[in-house]
Amino acid sequence: MVLELQKPRPVWQIMFSTHHTDVGLLYLIMSIAFLFMGGALALLIRAELFFPGAQMIADSMTFNRIFTVHGTTLIFLFLLPSASAVGNYFVPIMVRYKDMAYPKLNAIAFWMIPPGGALIWLGFADFTWYATPPYSIISAPGPAADMWIFGLKILGISSVLGAINFIVTILKCKHPDMSIGQVPLLAWSFLSSSLIVLVAIPTFAAALLMLLTDRLGVTGFFNPAMGGDPIAYAHLFWFTFHPEVYVLVIPAIGMMYEIIPRFSRKPIFSKSSGIFAFVLLAIVSFSSWAHHMYATGMSFTEKTVFMIGTLAAVPASGMHVFNFVATMWNGRIKFLTPMMWSIGGIALFFSAGAGGVANAAMPLDFTTHDTYWVVGHFHLFVMGTIAFGTIGFIYYMFPYVTGRMYNENMGKIHFILSFIGTILVFFTQHVLGLYGMPRRIFDYPAIPEWVAMNQIATVGAMIIGVSMIIFLINLIHSSAKGKPADIHDPFGLGGKYYYPFESKNPHH
């Protein structure tokens, strides 16, 4: 058996390898490390907000620094790399190619992430993950702000390199006998999201450069004092980062497409509609960026256009949910940890989507703009859907990577606690937003409803924190001392286990 962790190899051999499973493993370990670092900051934020007034964080600027790095870490250093981990592991195997199209480029794309992450963590900027201008230009303290800008620049280049590799691997390196329609849905999800990255990221790269030159005083693109316009930055930023939501969510749905049919013991209900929905989502992801900016004085017609553009994502998302439900129908479902995470992810995806429909409608958007409703909504997506899909898949690929089984009971406890915690935190934050609590605040008045709901959210966050510690213990303990997995059918489903184990590419 060729196993990454079970077969002892010097660490440096994995670290400097260009083999796709080695790079995938590096992505996985690094993204999990950043999950815990970003998660620790989230717990700190929630602990601070347990009571009104300063609790454990000295001042508002420190608080701003913490949530800036929390957001940046979990989006760019956990969610994106964890998707890359899965893609690196499985895309070449799925398209039956020996490696990624450009193995060295693949390794370079990975090794750009640690310096990018180090710049973000060592700088600890305070201007939110949106780098809010004109504050970020005029008075955000350097070198933290500059380090953040350079860090994001490096991470953006890494994303583009990774996207090019996925696109070329899938389109040009797939086995000659395999038509594009035969490419598995997980690989299709990476193709769709990589195309979005290629179109979206260059815009933000330009915006970052403009932000930097504005900070240096050379230009005034976003500086009102020099004739610039911060709203222009908002357009550039959201043109990249609304589609970026789909860059994150599409692979997570692709992972669910791997898990749900196998644990339902049925093929996927309609593969072609899954492909269609991925492509449709990739296209409509660019039609909704300005819904983040209804309150900036846009014309009614513009707002209507972006409202329709946002709602255009609903049919495609609905197709995925229908596909999952129809696949489970008449199946014989085995509720093991990966399946529980996937079903939990679909349920929360649906809740988050319903909140999105409400957000897209401008009347409610004005009421909820910059309130905790928004925080609850996007966290329900990133945690409830994307992280749930990803964590479920980490459990799913665990036997393939390590040759050992994780502890099933611990996995289920992890899921149950996370599901409860996620609902407690993020559903409550929706209501908190409707009660008018603004987001990104260090202190708040002692309104009884606000205090109670903040405390519920904090308790929920602590429950998630406990569940993640169980996850970590399970991963470390099981990868070293877990029961050896039946590598051909580790989940006892009675059929073949995703891809024939022998299909694993030999190391080079």
């Binding site: 093929p267 329709i308 079903i343 059929g495």
Partner: protein
């Protein structure tokens, strides 16, 4: 696939035409004034009614599915694909 495309096209037309119509309906001529604020709230309430109805149906269906088609359900029988041992998945 063709049916799905057709269905999507019909749904898109049904949603987009009335919405765009509302957006541009307010003419400049006297007597053609349209209160867009009222219209948009109306649209919002209709959308939320649809969202909550569909949400309740889908959530209820998923809960029932998980209960009815679980492995341990007394009426659970092997699927036809289990005999071949190939669940396909997304492959």
């Amino acid at each position: 696939m063709r049916n799905l495309l057709g269905l999507f096209l019909v749904l898109a037309i049904l949603v987009i035409i009335p919405t765009v119509d509302h957006a541009f309906a307010a003419g400049d001529e006297p007597g053609e004034y349209l209160d867009r604020r009222v219209l948009i709230w109306n649209l919002f309430f209709r959308m939320m009614t649809v969202a909550f109805t569909v949400g309740a149906v889908v959530s209820g269906t998923m809960i029932w599915l998980c209960w009815r088609f679980r492995e341990s359900h007394p009426k659970a029988t092997p699927t036809e694909y289990e005999r071949s041992g190939d669940f396909g998945g997304s492959a």
